[in-house]
């Protein structure tokens, strides 16, 4: 009975109801997008950091990994200390640099990572194999395209220029043995990886016994924060960052987007709430005579309240699936815009769909719908029956 009356009331003004549903759907879409934005980046980045199972990252004291060009000296002794610890399962050193590839009369420059291929966690092999020998290298698609070579080819590479001697420095002939996808780099960013010893040798004395970063995978059962604190105290020249700390840093740097998400999400919810409140209030005002008659023939005031609340909730609930679908479409669109951030890792999503986000948006919409019906239902329940009937009859 309640549902029939509520439905009849909504169908009486079809245009108005359709517009209200559309309005709420757009608000719901925006709300879902903002809920996805507020948690998506963080979760996406967390997944990226943990994708290779490394829980700790060691960088030069006072820096974040690859935030500056600073390097850690005495890398071999540092790695020895790390690998001697019973809690450490894997320690993976990384040296960052650049390699220049003379190609078709020009020079192609690519980021270079010196790694220990057996324990590296910076790239995934797409084709070929790991660079095990000193003269082997792996490259991503962007680099292979730029230098015009493919798997199995031999390339000439230089680590730098010497402006005084006017010549390349640290030259090597390397064989491409693998095609890889770098996990922490942008898709269009040219990059290669090679054994760390080769990159150090090419870099000359400035790179000797240095690394830019060391990644540490702990043994099962080891407590990450305790190990981080222990390493921090043990190694005064490095900053030890756990995944949780890295996420905090990301939160700080991307706080703008989180705050924007909270503000726009709240505005969307308020707009949807106001729209439904206005519509239901006007609808109640138009039916004030009907409601008085219902009360006069014995319908309990709580049934009237229930009907009005059902109307407002129905608007929200009908609009919600439409809004959530619209939200997913707009999220893809907005994500494709933000994915063009220079240097953003390919796997980072700003709008990450999680069932929890959809349930949160739906829950907020339903609560908002119920609250939107409170004022008009209170107004309808507190009508003076006789006076209202008289006013309606007399006009």
């Amino acid at each position: 009975m309640l549902a029939t009356l509520a439905l009849a009331s909504l169908l009486r003004h079809r245009t108005r109801t359709v517009l209200a549903i559309l309005g709420v759907a757009v608000s719901a879409a925006m709300l879902l997008d903002m809920v996805m934005l507020s948690s998506g980046m963080r979760e996406s980045f967390r997944g990226l950091l943990l994708s290779q199972g490394f829980q700790l990252r060691l960088s030069p004291r006072g820096t974040l990994p690859f935030d500056t060009e600073a390097t850690i000296r005495g890398a071999d002794s540092l790695l020895a200390v790390l690998r001697a610890r019973p809690t450490v399962a894997v320690a993976s050193p990384v040296l960052g640099g650049q390699l220049h590839f003379p190609s078709r009369g020009a020079t192609v420059t690519a980021s270079a990572l010196g790694v220990e291929p057996a324990v590296q966690g910076d790239y995934e092999l797409v084709a070929g194999r790991q660079p095990t020998a000193a003269n082997e290298i792996v490259a991503n698609d962007a680099t292979l395209r730029a230098i015009g070579h493919s798997l199995g080819d031999t390339v000439h590479a230089a680590a730098g220029y010497d402006p005084q001697l006017r010549t390349y420095s640290g030259e090597r002939t390397l064989r491409i043995v693998g095609r890889v996808r770098f996990i922490y780099l942008a898709l269009d960013q040219r990059a290669v990886a090679l054994p760390i010893g080769t990159l150090r040798a090419m870099g000359g004395p400035a790179s000797a016994d240095r690394i830019s970063l060391a990644m540490v995978k702990l043994r099962p059962g080891a407590e990450v924060e305790r190990e981080r604190a222990a390493l921090h105290a043990l190694l005064p020249r490095v900053t030890v960052t756990s995944t949780a700390q890295a996420l905090e840093q990301v939160d700080q740097r991307l706080s703008y987007f989180r705050q924007l998400a909270v503000i726009l999400g709240s505005v969307s919810l308020v707009v949807g709430f106001l729209l439904v409140t206005t519509l239901v209030t006007v609808s109640v005002n138009e039916r004030i005579g009907e409601i008085a008659v219902m009360r006069a023939i014995g319908v309990h005031r709580w049934r009237i309240v229930g009907q009005i609340l059902l109307e407002s909730s129905a608007l929200m609930v009908i609009a919600a699936p439409l809004g959530l679908a619209l939200g997913l479409v707009t999220a893809r669109w907005l994500d494709s815009i933000l994915a063009r951030f220079p240097g953003l890792p390919e796997r980072i999503d700003f709008f990450l769909f999680q069932p929890r986000a959809a349930w949160t948006a739906l829950g907020l919409l339903v609560i908002s719908g119920i609250l939107a019906g409170v004022y008009p239902s209170w107004r309808s329940a507190s009508l003076p029956i006789a006076v209202t009937l008289r006013q309606e009859a007399v006009g």
Binding site: H13, T15, R61, G62, E69, Y161, L264
Partner: protein, 289 residues
């Protein structure tokens, strides 16, 4: 070529600064003649605030933790520029004399980049072409090209804002149409009476559209006040958070004009649609007879 910058700036991540109380002898001086007067540096206001440093204080700068360094005097505290590229970076900035920094870092007779002043745009293009044709091991870029490259991040943010703005406009248009529909619906009896006493459809539609336009203009003016206040609060908040003079939100005349024009167009269209719907209904039906 003329070297335009006397100082090279360096992130403190590369050069650690250790504070020492003013007018006291620093604990370690490794380079330079102790008889020489200490050289001067400038630091940014964030470092000054965080490390409680003042102009005239003596500090030791070193290339790394635990390494010997040079004693210097803080000659000036600089305000960070309103540079969007720097807002998310937490590093401090210190400016030293070029030779001193090269010595501290063991950098030799090297610099990272030169800035070259040219007398005209034509001379710039000529200089870039000549340097790139003859120089080996480095490349010349026009400042404008560098600016485009470094502002790509903000171009993306700007596109994102435009997309959000588009969604907001769609939501606002539907909201406005709904409200206008309700507003006009409330006056169905007035409209019926006007029709019965002989007012033309055109007059009625015109009056409703006029009313809608007035509401849209008043609403958008109120929106401009709300927007201006929000912009002020946003700037206050983010300038404090990022400790920068950068203005994050600017309400310009163009933006105000666009907002008012958009609201006016949406209001008129919504009013016209609602009024058309009403005048096509027979007057007696509007009376509910």
């Amino acid at each position: 070529m003329r070297v335009n910058h006397r100082f090279v700036c360096l992130l403190l991540l590369a050069v650690a600064v250790r504070g020492a109380p003013a007018q006291q002898t620093p604990r370690s001086i490794a380079r330079g003649d102790p008889q020489d007067a200490p050289r001067s540096i400038t630091i940014d206001s964030r470092l000054a605030a965080d490390a409680s440093l003042h102009v005239g204080d003596r500090v030791v700068v070193a290339a790394g933790t635990g390494e010997p360094g040079d004693t210097v005097v803080i000659a000036a505290i600089t305000q960070r520029r309103a540079d969007p590229a720097e807002i998310a970076r937490g590093e401090y900035r210190v400016r030293l004399h070029l030779g001193q920094l090269q010595s501290l870092l063991g950098y030799g007779d090297r610099v990272d980049r030169f800035a070259i002043a040219t007398p005209s745009a034509g001379a710039t293009a000529d200089a870039v072409a000549r340097i790139n044709a003859s120089a080996f091991g480095f490349q010349a870029h026009r400042s404008a090209d560098v600016a485009v490259e470094t502002s790509k991040t903000f171009a993306v943010v700007s596109r994102f804002h435009r997309a959000i703005g588009t969604i907001t406009i769609v939501a606002s248009a539907i909201f406005l149409l709904c409200i206008m529909l309700l507003k006009v619906d409330e006056r169905r009896r007035d409209v019926a009476a006007l029709r019965l006493i002989g007012c033309t459809e055109r007059t009625i539609v015109g009056s409703v559209v006029l009313e809608a336009a007035a509401i849209a203009v008043l609403g958008s003016l109120f929106g401009v006040v709300v927007g201006g206040t929000a912009s002020f609060l946003v700037n206050r908040h983010y300038q404090a958070v990022y400790r920068t003079p950068l203005r994050f939100s600017i309400v310009t005349g163009d933006i105000v004009l666009l907002a008012v024009a958009l609201a006016l167009v949406l209001g008129i269209v919504a009013g016209w649609l609602a009024a058309r719907r009403l005048v096509r209904t027979p007057p007696l039906a509007l009376f509910g007879r």
